[in-house]
Symmetry: C2
Amino acid sequence: MSSPKRTSPESVRRVACVGAGVIGGGWVAHFLGRGYDVTAWDPAPDAEARLRRLVAAAWPALEQLGLAPGASPDRLTVTGTLEEAVADAEFVQESAPEKLELKRELLAKLDAATPAGVVIASSTSGYPMTDMQTAAAAPGRLVVGHPFNPPYLIPLVEVAGGERTDPDAVGWLSRFYECAGKSVITMDREVPGFIANRLQEALWREALHMVANGEATVADIDRSITEGPGLRWAVMGPMLTFALAGGEGGMAHMLDHFGPSLKSPWTRLEAPELDKELYDAVVSGCDDAADGRTVADLVGERDRGVIAVLRATGRLPRDGDA
Amino acid sequence: MSSPKRTSPESVRRVACVGAGVIGGGWVAHFLGRGYDVTAWDPAPDAEARLRRLVAAAWPALEQLGLAPGASPDRLTVTGTLEEAVADAEFVQESAPEKLELKRELLAKLDAATPAGVVIASSTSGYPMTDMQTAAAAPGRLVVGHPFNPPYLIPLVEVAGGERTDPDAVGWLSRFYECAGKSVITMDREVPGFIANRLQEALWREALHMVANGEATVADIDRSITEGPGLRWAVMGPMLTFALAGGEGGMAHMLDHFGPSLKSPWTRLEAPELDKELYDAVVSGCDDAADGRTVADLVGERDRGVIAVLRATGRLPRDGDA
């Protein structure tokens, strides 16, 4: 292959979305809201009607999020073939069903039909790109760009290349997503499930065990999160949240106090050994995250944040808003 | 023992908090904000100064949450002995360090010093009451009441009795916490770690594995939650959130589509077998939770909720508030 000629991330105007179910359709809505021209293709017979319904349902949210100048649902073109969808694309987002062989073949087809150099991202929620890029003639431009549902609302996207991915394509994709208003984590290695999916999958599996054993109902599980840790996690991640459980002693005190709980059968997941290296990595990671803020500062931030979330979610009246 | 004479949950005015660290102090702040008279005892030499600092730091949050009539930090009395703290209490909350032998002995001491019939709750984050109530003369009034940090801000409290706990004491405690403004899940059995702690512990253990393996930094982990699933979990629990990933087909479609991912190595936690019974329990649980709301209704609720949370947490300007 010749070296890729890519539109700069800042200059992209035309985006193709291949696969237009819940995730692909959510991407379409996101890119439309951000003012891009979007072409979309999906093999399902009723795909266009469903996609336009999804975009219409998302539009009020997109308006509240703030539309880019010129953004319009009219800038969506649904094509009859995959080839038409990607023919003029400056970026391609693939969101096909989560089947490895299907993804492999589809990415090879997309690679054959898409102008040279254009980056092709896969929304896969778990497959490493190394396993998906095997059939493509130009695997260097294939990158994972894993969003969260709905992509037009949840900022996070995780970016990771495969063994045969060109590092420039990874860098280009991370920058492009930032231009398109996403919050990007670029991973330097492939981990099945990436980061957030591993974390939420651990929680999900434990929840399924509890339902299977009759230990909690679906309603208990949901309420235990929305009335409990979920309120904190919109404001502060699990590591820094736990650091505050250590009081004025922070994460080090928390690990000294609750470290032994890692031996308790609190989940079916075996914990790692809390050796000095891990202890130090967690404590210094929290120190870095605090970035000079004292525990009192962090407690104040968390408290104001959670109160704002309680108001925002209707658990507190909003008229007393400060 | 004679049958217990208890103040009705609605009439309680005097609460004792034994152990006044981060959790015990957070309970003190909560009960003060709700207008109770609170006595507190903690054996640490600087306990009173630390406790009064914690209450002062929490007070702005308590004001925003809405103080009960007459609520004041002046209604806190720190006593020199455990016995003085509980002598006139109508309810006792124990929040000592998480050590089984210590909890066992302390609960026996509290039982000996507290007026007959008064319910004594333990804030333990993981021990079953069955294991903690063994040394007490009147184990029937000992119940787990497990809060989340900080107790004055996070509504959830999980209530569970031990084998020797009187079911009336469990019922009394759940009702009392409701009167005191908490959101209560009453469990009908003892599960180590209860519900929410098992769920967040699974996530925490997976996060520790990732740090230990160099797969993600502390900052990556926190951001992957606050910019990702954490935004949804303040609004909608993990089960109903995942149901929406199934699009118009809901949880059944989601399980058909992502069920096979349970076999993927996305966490170190082994998943349960997704047999028909579990499948049906999860799908019907989500149907119950939806309670007649369509997928479109739920998507609309989630979108409005997440946008409100994005505004509340400063990710979107608040002046465009609808």
